[in-house]
């Protein structure tokens, strides 16, 4: 298992690199790979013959595609790491920001920011309210669904249903009460999309994702111990309450950052850590790093499909990840039913 980990991460990183290149190349205007590489090299001060001379090509890359790719990397890594961390503190492989309602809590925060017009103060207001909504939902799920250090699956899912319903009602009310411009903004935002990403936002989300991954990585060994149950973790020297509180803040922060700019992109936090566990085992050192890379790969890949599948149309990426995630979720369920008669 241990020998597999570096190979897995290297493989994922290579795949990510290829998908990133493909994302830069493909689109309404095809840009040859040589020009993409040339343009990148020139930007870091290496003059070369491949770099495109065409202003439009240059603008397509640097104004549209690169920030969008960076945003995809940031959002994917953030959501996958948030999923892995949530699963660790809930002691449950089904805990996922989307399923348990953290994403919709964040979405409610963002919808209110747009509907109440406070978004006009600055882009960060939407992000701040999304963070607050995500944090509130995480705390709520956490307080309601845990007992003896574990969240029973049924309680977790039911809590998620309740929170999703409440947040959904809040978002619907915001839609109902606001003007049509805000309405359109909220609807578009709920579907999840990386369309129209701006550099500062992409840099912010990518920065939060990297920082979140690094911080989560430092706690990996403690997350492993938490799998033994809260009492056992305590007896092994883990300050469980501090770890839990810090982890909840971390999940709310990275999920809030991702959701604030791109809307709800569900199942990434569920599917990615699950697949990584199947390949490399449940150890959190590998799981967190590989989930960050794998999440980035999934979202950048899904976004590539979202904007190229139908010529001239930009599908909402949230629709794609859900289309992909739902069967994986059902597969998980079927597998669990075969091995132990379902989740207790």
């Amino acid at each position: 298992m241990r020998a597999r980990a570096p190979l897995l991460i290297a493989g994922l990183a290579l795949a990510l690199l290829l998908v990133v290149l493909a994302s830069a190349v493909l689109g309404q205007a095809q840009i040859p790979p040589s020009e993409v590489i040339g343009s990148l090299l020139r930007s870091v001060g290496i003059p070369n013959g491949w770099a495109p001379d065409d202003r439009l090509t240059e603008a397509t890359l640097w104004v549209v595609r690169f920030p969008r790719i960076l945003m995809g990397i940031g959002v994917g890594a953030a959501l996958a790491v948030a999923g892995a961390v949530m699963q660790a503190i809930f002691g449950n492989p089904l805990a996922e920001p989307g399923i348990v309602g953290v994403s919709s809590g964040a979405a409610l925060g963002a919808a209110l920011a747009i509907a109440l017009g406070v978004a006009a103060i600055g882009g960060w207001v939407v992000a701040a309210l999304a963070f607050a909504g995500g944090l509130g939902a995480t705390l709520l799920v956490y307080l309601i669904s845990r007992s003896n250090g574990r969240a029973e699956v049924v309680t977790l899912i039911l809590t998620g249903i309740a929170i999703n319903a409440a947040a959904g009602a809040g978002i619907a009310f915001a839609l109902f009460a606001t003007d049509s411009a805000s309405r359109e903004q909220i609807v578009f935002w709920q579907l999840g999309s990386l369309n129209g990403t701006l550099w500062p936002n992409a840099l912010l989300v990518a920065g939060v994702a990297v920082a979140g991954t690094v911080v989560a990585r430092t706690q990996a060994r403690r997350y492993d111990l938490l799998a033994l149950g809260e009492r056992n973790a305590r007896h092994l020297g883990v300050h469980v309450d501090a770890l839990r509180l810090g982890s909840i803040l971390l999940v709310a922060l990275v999920t809030g950052a991702a959701v604030a700019f791109c809307g709800i992109i569900s199942f990434v936090g569920l599917v990615v850590p699950h697949l990584i566990r199947l390949i490399a085992g449940p150890g959190h050192r590998t799981l967190i790093t590989a989930s960050a890379v794998g999440g980035a790969l999934l979202v950048v890949g899904a976004d590539l499909i979202a904007r190229t599948a139908i010529a001239g149309a930009d599908l909402p990426i949230g629709v794609l990840t859900s289309l992909l995630g739902a069967p994986v979720f059902l597969g998980l369920l079927a597998r669990q039913r075969r091995s132990s008669g379902g989740w207790a």
Partner: protein, 258 residues
Amino acid sequence: MSGALRAMGLTVRVGGREVLQGVDLELAPGRFTAILGPNGAGKSTLLDTVAGTRTPQAGEVIVDGERVHDRSHAERSRLIGVLTQQNAVSFPFLVEEVVAMGRAPWARLSGAEEDDAAISAAIRDADVGHLVGRRLTELSGGERARVSLARVLAQATPIVLLDEPTAALDLKHQEAVMGVALGLARAGRAVAAVLHDLSLAAAYADRIVLLDHGRLAAAGAPADVLTAATVQSVYDLPVEIGAGPNGRPSVTPRRQGA
């Protein structure tokens, strides 16, 4: 670190109920203490409290001259190892990974060689060598309990607390685990185990502590504590005290028609 533990006047309230009322406990290096008592007598709470993970409303626990509750989490985990009754694991970790988790308190303090030695000794003593490559989630309850014991052994603490270490085990492994516990004591550790089998406790323990409704009912050598009158009053059941091996008492319920 010698690992002498002294708890005085421990009182623990949970939801308005006094689970422990002024309980004293003394664990000495080289001694195997059995903690007995009916269900709900406060045995597990006592273990958690002396281990420092539960704070008592009154009383204190001193280990090596310092209050256990003043020590850091990490420091406590290098002094006191606890086998709890809960052996489930949330994710399918390998048995060898779970045993290695027992070394977590020593991260950055012990070398890889020391860790490996502690882990392989623990795997041998708990008799889980044939399970190392398997996932904890696919093992039986008894096998999981032994893996957890191996994890506690790998922790290599001067004080070892075992909560019902024999509960899910077959006869052979019950004896083996009691032998391991006694062996730890003879090697200079302070060992305490919560047990339900009175005869088993009498056969192995140097000292017996008997709890009744959160109070200390009796403490002392097995023959002094396990008298018909004491056991009968604490367990509310008539018993016969027989002579077991080495002059240790053996306790049998008085059964109708037997």
